[in-house]
Each structure stands twice: as structure tokens, then as C-alpha cells.
Amino acid sequence: MSPTKPPLVGASTPLPLPPPFSHSALRLLTQGAEALVFHTTLLDSRTPVALKYRPPKPYRHPLLDRRLTRQRLLAEARVLVKCRKEGVLVPDVVALGADEGWLGLGWVEGATVRRVLDKWVGKRGEEGEGELMGLMGRVGRAVGRMHEIGVCHGDLTTSNLMDSPADLRSLAGDIVLIDFGLATQSIQDEDRAVDLYVLERAFAATHPVAEPLFQEVLRTYGESYKGAKVVLRRLEDVRMRGRKRSMLG
């Protein structure tokens, strides 16, 4: 989510937006299965936000659709506010249109960890490896802190981790977790281990050379809170079977 990215071209007939929003003031950033994310401002012109809009799904009964959208939106907003209260770095919830299906999230500067990794792999450089390890360490601690307060992300990929440095040229930024659309409030080792497993797969998918970096994530994760070691042990079970647990009763 970089503000410099060119806008994606939308469909030929633009999707209707919930009032008060109009396409002229919004710039489409990404589109997922459930939501569209726009860049705009809220409250004042100096407050950039990512506006996440869950459009109605025409194949669902309107009443059910509104309820589901509202529920999911609220779950996401609640988890974000909880994280923010507890000092886990996540976007601010700036405003919310629960009935209209939108959520205004404080803009996070920086690059996704995925982009940072891709760049590093592209250069194939040994240079900056220390810096990169530092980054991995911060990822592990950020995830650990989130788990510690009883939140599981549900879709922990390198694209959902932002490296948000004060100086945009360095890697030495805070790790901000984004996209809590699938997050749950859970303290189960299983859910935590699955978070780590999904993240591990995301690292492996980037490039084989990125895989050893993940060891550093696990190392700092293991030291980040009291229950972390148990989760790491559980991660080994999850690796053996995949992220879905027994589907038998």
C-alpha cells in the first residue's frame, strides 16, 4: 500500500459507493475477494486514510448480506481498537460506517515486508543482511505482542506486515500489522501456530533464500511472551498436517 503506486483501473462501470463517498475523491488501491481499498482523506485534508469498503454481494439475501457485512466490519474494527489500546502497532480506526459497509483506517507509510524481501532477493546481495535480520526480529516481536494480547490475525502474510520507518530509505522502521479482516480474538495455541504457519509459507513462497530468514522471526517470537514456546512446539504439529485441523467431529 504505497501512495506512489499507480491507481488500478476499475471496471468499466464503476461500482456504486456508499454516501458520502464518490469516485472523484477516491483512488482504488487494491481489490480483494471481500473488500475494495481506496486512498482518500477523512476528517481533514491532512489525514490520509485507507478506506476499506465491503460492497453488498448480490447473490445473498439483502438482509443477511447487511448483517454479515456489518458483523465482519465490526469484528475488524474492534480488534484494531483493542490492538491500538494495548500498544500493538496497527492502523487507527478513524471512522466507521457499519451499516454502509466501510471502515476508514489511518494511513500507514512505508513498504510491505513482502516488497522489502523482493527487493533484497532481487539484489541477491549479502549487503544489508544484518539490517534485514533486524527487520525479521521486529516482525517476530510484533507478531508475539499481538498474540500476547489475545489477537490472532488469520491471514498473516508478508503483504500484511508493513515496515514503517520514519526515514523511508532505511529498513529500521516499526512493524505495523495491517488487514485484520479475518482476525479473531483468540488465545488458543492452535490459532497462534496457524498464524505462524501461514507466515512461514508466505516466506517460503517469496523465494527459497528467504526461508532461513524466517528462523529469525521464530527466534524473537519465542522470546516475546510467556506462552510463545508452547506455540512454537505446536507449529511443528501444524507443519506436519497443514493448517486445517481435524475435520472429524
Binding site: 454516501p19 458520502p20 463517498f21 464518490s22 475523491a25 482518500t40 482523506t41 477523512l42 476528517l43 481533514d44 485534508s45 489525514t47 465490526l74 474494527a77 474492534r78 484494531l80 481498537v81 491500538r84 489500546k85 494495548e86 500498544g87 500493538v88 502497532l89 487507527d92 480506526v93 478513524v94 471512522a95 466507521l96 460506517g97 457499519a98 451499516d99 454502509e100 476508514g104 489511518g106 533486524g134 521486529r138 516482525v139 516481536r141 510484533a142 505482542r145 514503517s164 520507518p165 520514519a166 526515514d167 532505511s170 529500521a172 522502521g173 516499526d174 512493524i175
Partner: protein, 209 residues
Amino acid sequence: MATVETLYLPHYPDYPIYISFFKNVSNAPFLRQQLLEANTAFEYAFLDATMILSPRHLYAATFRALNDAVHTRLKSRNIHSELVFSLSPNNNIADAYRRFGIQDSTTSLLAVKIPLSNHDITAESVSKHLGGAVEGESVAFGEEALAGVTDLKALRKVYKLDSGNKGGGGKKGKKGAEVVVNGNGVGSGKDERAEMEGVILGIMALKGT
């Protein structure tokens, strides 16, 4: 005449909002009385400025009130009471007035007027009326104006921002919203107000859901 700022919230270009800030106000009891009597000449949100953290804090409440008014789902009598209500973390309107509204003891006052579609009301008319009605020193509204006014401690209490600390929990080094988790010092210079603002906006947005 009083200094009046005309504000347009993003996405609501057709709804001007007039904001006036006064210091050393001496007739708060009179102004409050006008609200209690529902004097139609005094349709403002009169706020105790010590309970406003930042311009954005005020804008967030204003946005919510305006957005809810446009969607015709106000929870209180009018858009001005809704603004006061929007600031509150709970669903009690009287409580919201007690905490964020003008008190007899108020000396720093914010007056907000949202005329909606009433085009007879202009910055000039608001300025003229407030200039005559409020006995106090009119100051330009902004971050600087609030800097020495906000009661951070009272705000922390109202929004329960320290609840993570109390109870003598065994969680080491945990300090509510002030902790910067994983930075290594470079990007961690965010000040207290910015930290509080992020949490407060979230609490306000979630209120009543």
C-alpha cells in the same frame, strides 16, 4: 465579532461547519442556561475545550454527527447534541453533556455550529451572534490553541486509556498505549497526544455498535 473558522469535512463539501474558540469565558452559566431552556437562538454545540484533545478529535465527532444526520439516524434531539454525544465513549446523553458539554465552571469554550441546509446562517452571522453572546477572548482554533488547554488526565480517565496498567498485573513493562513495541528507536518519536488520538478516534467510531 468573534473569530470563526469555516470547516468543510472531506466528502461533505455542501455542509459548512463553523467553529469558534474562546478563552477566559466569564458567562458560561448564562450560555449553559440557554441550552437548558432550548433557546432556539443558541443552537450550537458548546463544548468544554479542556476535553478536546486535538482538532481531529473534534472533527471526528463532527463527522459522525453530520454523517448520522445525513443518514437520518440521530440518537439525540439534533445535530448539535449529537456532536456532544459523539464525543462520549458511552451511550448516555446526559453523561456526555456532563463530560464534554459546557459547565458553569467552563472558561475555555468551543462553539460549533452545523447549519445543515439552512443557508441563512453564515460565518458572519455566527461571528456576530457569538461575539455578542459569549463574554470571553476569541482565539483562532487549532492545535496551538488547544495545546495548553486540554486536560489530558481527565481525557485518559473518561476514555479509560490506562485500564491496561491498573490492577497490578504481572505483565512486565506494559504501559497501555504508550509503549512502542518493536521499533528500534528510529520511528518511535510519536508523542502522547498522537497516541491518545489514535485510540480515542477508534473508541468514538465504535461507540453504539
